[in-house]
Point group: C2
Chain length 266, copies 2
């Protein structure tokens, strides 16, 4: 008898070819499925809330899976962690309702994009930040970020060649904040974007566009033009993958049973 | 005509077999010397203030070198950085007096050792912290740390088999501080130790000993016994290398000419 679980997972994506299983490559999904096969002797499919690209990290990716497991959810997390590399950790496991599906049931996602502005390259942060060498105007970025908020057609920020049914998304937050840095020549910034869902490469295309606005190459109103046109060709460059983090994924209360992680099945 | 420079260097030691050149292995010294050979066409020896072990990092390693360079120190740093991997960066270059020698002239060093106490493994910090799973008593560690301060014979904290002329060192600071953590189950700590010099593995042996005291296995007075005995066998375990950082190296004012980094030679 299998049981459905909701896992929350953090990973450093630097050394992985992304979430999705690919033959002959180290992927997050593949590594999790291998650990589960080792634990249970069975092939288990792990469904992630989204397929993060090569190099993208996660503080709180969510995955669903059905697995024959007779012990508590907490012990499933511990057993998985004992079989995962240092770069992947299951931070929580919960029983989920039968049929819980990490992609289909997700109602919101939050991503963070990390920047370093100025200074020498940082040997401890280069894996996690896009290093910009020229100054950017934070006021212009904040004004542009405000124009993204709301229900819009984001086709202009979608990677060329995508085929989502609808390109309308509800952006609920787009926040710019400074992070502590010990070097006055080096500014650490993060941009966090929350929406009901994202199109392919949407965050990285938004960040590339905001950076061009911050550099004064385009005004904040450029955001409106890109949204109205729906034309990917007029937006900014795609920011690199290695500075992107999936922060958290939201589910409706029915999918969050929040049961005792020490509960064993009846 | 060669010119003497003082370089300050930061590096992530995770992927290196330590500072010192070793045939067939990636080392910090070897990588710097390769970059210098590429820039100048000559074999240049880079002398580091100390040979950090495999896995040890640096915020401010100092190195001396004599090199034929006709441009400004700042441009030497920039040219080196363009020829170094992401994991090594020259944060400053200065003209130094002829005969300046990074080992011989050093008058103080400060190391930091980083700990994580409790919590799941941290996929973004595991390269830089020793993860302790059981609680430790910070008060006990602070009391023990105080007993290290001063001029003592630290032979009991020296790696077996070392052959320094004298094992007396002057420990000027031994500080425990908490670092910010976003997870309440996970404590981030750092221990910083400053002295006029260190014996081989001295910081890691001190940290291993402080952790045993923090766990209540030995009282703070154990420090005095180890110092008095001079016997390495009675001290605590050697803490792992990957959580150790060389923070900075001090030189007397005569070695710190602090000249204009944009000065070209006459």
């Amino acid at each position: 008898m299998t049981r459905t679980f909701k896992l929350t997972i953090a990973y450093d994506g630097s050394e992985f070819a992304g979430w999705q299983v690919q033959p002959g490559k180290a992927t997050i999904q593949g590594t999790l499925q291998q650990a589960l096969r080792h634990l249970t002797g069975e092939s288990v499919q792990v469904i992630g809330s989204g397929r993060t690209d090569a190099g993208v990290h996660a503080f709180g990716q969510v995955a669903s899976l059905s697995v024959p497991w007779r012990d508590t959810p907490r012990r499933l997390a511990a057993a998985l962690n004992a079989n995962l590399p240092d770069t992947i950790v299951v931070t929580s496991a919960e029983d989920a309702p039968d049929g819980f599906h990490a992609i289909r049931d997700a109602v919101s996602k939050r991503y963070r994009y990390q920047l370093q502005v100025g200074g020498d390259r940082d040997v401890f942060e280069y894996r996690y930040r896009w290093h910009l060498h020229s100054k950017i105007d934070l006021e212009l970025i904040t004004r542009a970020a405000g124009r993204l908020i709301g229900r819009h057609d984001f086709a202009g920020f979608q990677a060329a060649g995508s085929d989502r049914r609808t390109t309308t998304r509800d952006v609920r937050a787009c926040e710019l904040f400074q992070q502590p840095s010990t070097d006055p020549n080096r500014l650490y910034l993060a941009i966090e974007i929350e929406a009901d869902g994202f199109l392919y490469n949407m965050v990285r295309n938004i960040v590339g566009t905001l950076v061009e606005i911050g550099r004064g190459k385009q005004p904040p109103e450029w955001i409106d033009q890109i949204i109205e046109s729906g034309n990917r060709d007029i937006a900014g460059q795609t920011a690199p993958a290695h500075a992107l983090f999936l922060v958290r994924v939201g589910y409706p209360p029915s999918a969050n049973m929040s049961v005792d992680p020490d509960r064993a099945p009846k």
